[in-house]
Each structure stands twice: as structure tokens, then as C-alpha cells.
Symmetry: C2
Subunit: 223 residues, 2 copies
DNA sequence: TGCAAATGGTAGCAATACTATCATACAAGT
DNA sequence: ACTTGTATGATAGTATTGCTACCATTTGCA
């Protein structure tokens, strides 16, 4: 019997837990596909419903609107990275090594085998790179924050910041560096792909080069 | 006679140059107001038209859609920062001093007197902090880039990168640092205001503290 | 087998994102 | 003063979006 893994996400994100039903899991899986294919702005529930042979009304039973669906996906991603970091740094002593693993996790965001069958993490990563910030640059940010919809991002930041402080307890801004590490990773991957004049990454292997770059920055800042 | 200043923006941004007419300038001025007030997602041309006693149809004569209007505003901002940097570093020799001025310009984005009467730069800065990345995280980014709609951002990055290289010619990733400086500034200002757990800024004077923080990072990276 | 929960099907409505057409105003040149 | 052009206003209309409501059917499981 396969181990059932469930990532617990804040229940303010959905009306009905999509992990708990077949249709719900289909919604998650194909929303990732469709958003990747047509972009978040032109994505909507009608198109997704058509794609999975369901109806708009059914999708609205799971998510209030497409913004909350995106936020759900991004939350999943935060939790996934969190999991990756914990898993991969387990049993590692040297904090510098741990930090390198964090960088690797942020850049590649992938593992040999996926956590659950209905989420393709590398496609999810693409969405986070492309559309991620839209999930928290919203007029309702304060209200959404107050009900905990960004907790996973904060948790992730705290973990990274704590390892930064292990590496160098005198570094004055560990939290800022942590959140910036996350944002910078995605930004530079985006720029490398779409606006190459805004980055030094030019090699065809963007991920590898972004990884080297981030390690270079961290060395200068912390070592 | 007052000096007429005109910022030249790529004409792919608009259908009809808003700087050239009374209504056009009103559109710019009040779009900044309304977007600040209700957020970009719920902003639309009908609401703006009502606000300025004009009509939807008239606004569509200036801008294809609200996305391009936002991109116009963000382009204006890039040009404005560019101008600020050039103006404020003029006659300064020491590149380290120049870099500090850049940081100050990015964080405060303000001057004693505004460049043109129809743009309130500090309100525009708020929009860039809040909604800025949406202007270039769009499915049409490649096409828009190919007709030059992000040239101002690239120019800005080049100027900053060149001064970074003056400070330390051995620093391996000046362009990345330049674009990240811009992104990080706005991000940290946003976090300080809306998601304070994602930053070390806690003081009430966010701008001042972000400025100190950025200078601290730059020192570690370059000096 | 039967009941509850999940989903499908259809309809409809208000708002959004435009486009088209015509009227008016005003300004510039002859 | 007369014509012409350009800018704006006024109105209307259309397709799509973003939902909500309601009822019918299917499915899972007690």
C-alpha cells in the first residue's frame, strides 16, 4: 500500500478541500496545466471546466475564485520547498552545507519522485516563477494575512533565516536575506528566460548558473 | 515661461500620446489616484472615466487596455528613477558615494519638486511597489519586450550595473545585482508594510531602514 | 438497498472589456 | 466668416467573465 501524504494547507484557501476528492485533485492537476499553457490572466474556471469535462459550478464549490486557487497552488509550493529543505538537510551538520542545499532546493525545486501523483512540482515551480508574486500582491493582502493565508511563506522564511544565522550569527538581516533569496531565485530564473538583459545569466543551463550565482552572493554576504 | 519637460516613452505603450493633451494628462494623473485607492485588479476604464467625467470610449483612444496603462506608468517610473540617478550623481566622483545615492533614489524615489505637474511621483512609487511586477509578469512578455516596452528597465539596470562595476570591477554579477537591487527595494518596502514577518524592517521609518539595509548588503558584497 | 454527498446540467444576471457610430466643440488656416 | 480637422462626448451594442441558483443525476458507503 502506498503511503498517503497529505499537505495541510490553511482551510481559508478553499471552500472544500480539493485533496479529498477525485474532482478536487483533478482541479489542482489541470489548473497547473492550463495556467502554464495560457497564463493566469486569461485562465478562468470555465476554460478549466471544459478541459476536465466538468462545469464551472462544480469548480466554484472548491474555490471562491481564481485568485484563491492560485494562492492555494503557491501555498502548496511553499510547503513543498519547506519539505524539501527539511528532508534534504536532515542529518547534515555543517550549516554552510545546509545553506547550499537550500539554494539547490529553491532553484531546482525538484526531487526524484514527486510527493503526490496529482501535482507535477516542476510545472508548479514554473507557475510560481511566472505568476507567484501575484498571489500576494493583492489589495486584500492584510485581510488574507490575518487569516493565515501566508503562513507557509513565513515558515519557509523562518527556516531559511535560522540557517543563515547559524552560518553567521552576526549577519544583521537574516529574514530579509531569506525572503530575498526566495524572490531573487524566481526573479532571476524569470529574467534569464524572458528578459535576459536584466541578468548576468546567459548560459543555456539557467538553473545551474542561478545556483552558482546565489552561492556566490551568499559567500560574500556571510562567509 | 516654465521649462516644459517631456519624458519620452516608447510609443508602443499607447495609442495616442497622453502627454500631448489635457485629457491624456488627466488620465495619467487620475489613474494613479484610482489604482492607489482601489487596487489594480478592480480598477477599470469605466471607473476612471466616471472619476474624471469622461467616457470609457475616450480612454480607449489613449490606451489599448488597463495592462498597457499600468506598463506606461511603470515605464514612467523607470525613466524617473533613471533621471534621478543621473541628476543626483552628476559631479560626484566617488563610485561608492554614487551607489549610496542610487540606493537613496530607489528607496525614496522622490525629489523636492516634481518633474511634471500631472504626476505625483510618490504615489506612483506606491503603485510600483504594490503592482509593479504585474507589468512585466505577463504572458505577452516576449512580444512586448521585442517592441521595446521594457527598454527603460534595461537602461536603468545598465546604469546601476556600471556603477557597481566601478565600485568593484571583480564582482562577477553586476547586472543581477542591479536588477535585484531594484526588485529587493520594492519588495522589502512592500513586506515592511504588509507582510512584516518577511523582513527585518520593524522600525516605523521603513524607508530609512530599508536604505540602511541595502547599504549593508552592498558593503558586504562589494567592499 | 437506500440515503447523503458529490457532481452535472442548465439558466440567468451583473459587470467587464471592449467597438462602432454619430454628434458636438473648438482651433487653425484661408 | 468658412472650412476643415481633431478631440471629446454620448449612446448603444456585443462577447466574455465571474459568478449564483436550482434541480437532476450519479456515486459511495452504511
Amino acid at each position: 500500500m502506498p503511503v498517503k501524504i497529505k499537505i495541510d494547507l490553511n482551510d481559508g484557501l478553499y471552500l472544500k478541500d480539493p485533496q479529498e476528492s477525485k474532482l478536487g485533485r483533478k482541479i489542482i492537476k489541470f489548473s497547473i496545466e492550463v495556467i502554464n499553457k495560457i497564463g493566469f490572466e486569461s485562465f478562468n474556471f470555465k476554460k478549466l471546466a471544459t478541459e476536465i469535462n466538468s462545469t464551472e459550478a462544480s469548480l466554484y464549490r472548491y474555490f471562491e475564485n481564481k485568485h484563491l486557487l492560485l494562492l492555494y497552488l503557491v501555498n502548496w509550493y511553499w510547503e513543498w520547498i519547506n519539505y524539501l529543505i527539511i528532508f534534504n538537510t536532515m542529518n547534515i551538520e555543517d550549516p554552510k552545507k545546509k545553506l547550499k542545499i537550500i539554494v539547490h532546493s529553491l532553484v531546482f525545486a525538484t526531487m526524484d519522485n514527486s510527493l503526490v501523483e496529482f501535482i507535477d512540482e516542476s510545472k508548479l515551480h514554473k507557475i510560481v516563477v511566472f505568476e507567484g508574486t501575484k498571489a500576494y500582491h493583492t489589495f486584500e493582502v492584510n485581510k488574507e494575512d490575518s487569516i493565515g493565508l501566508f503562513k507557509s511563506y513565513k515558515d519557509l522564511t523562518i527556516i531559511i533565516a535560522s540557517i543563515i544565522s547559524e552560518v553567521n550569527p552576526d549577519f544583521k538581516y537574516p529574514i530579509t536575506l531569506a525572503s530575498n533569496l526566495f524572490e531573487m531565485t524566481n526573479n532571476q530564473l524569470y529574467f534569464a528566460k524572458h528578459l535576459p538583459k536584466l541578468t548576468d545569466v546567459m548560459n543555456s543551463n539557467h538553473e545551474k548558473e542561478v545556483e552558482n550565482m546565489l552561492n556566490y552572493f551568499l559567500e560574500k554576504l556571510l562567509f
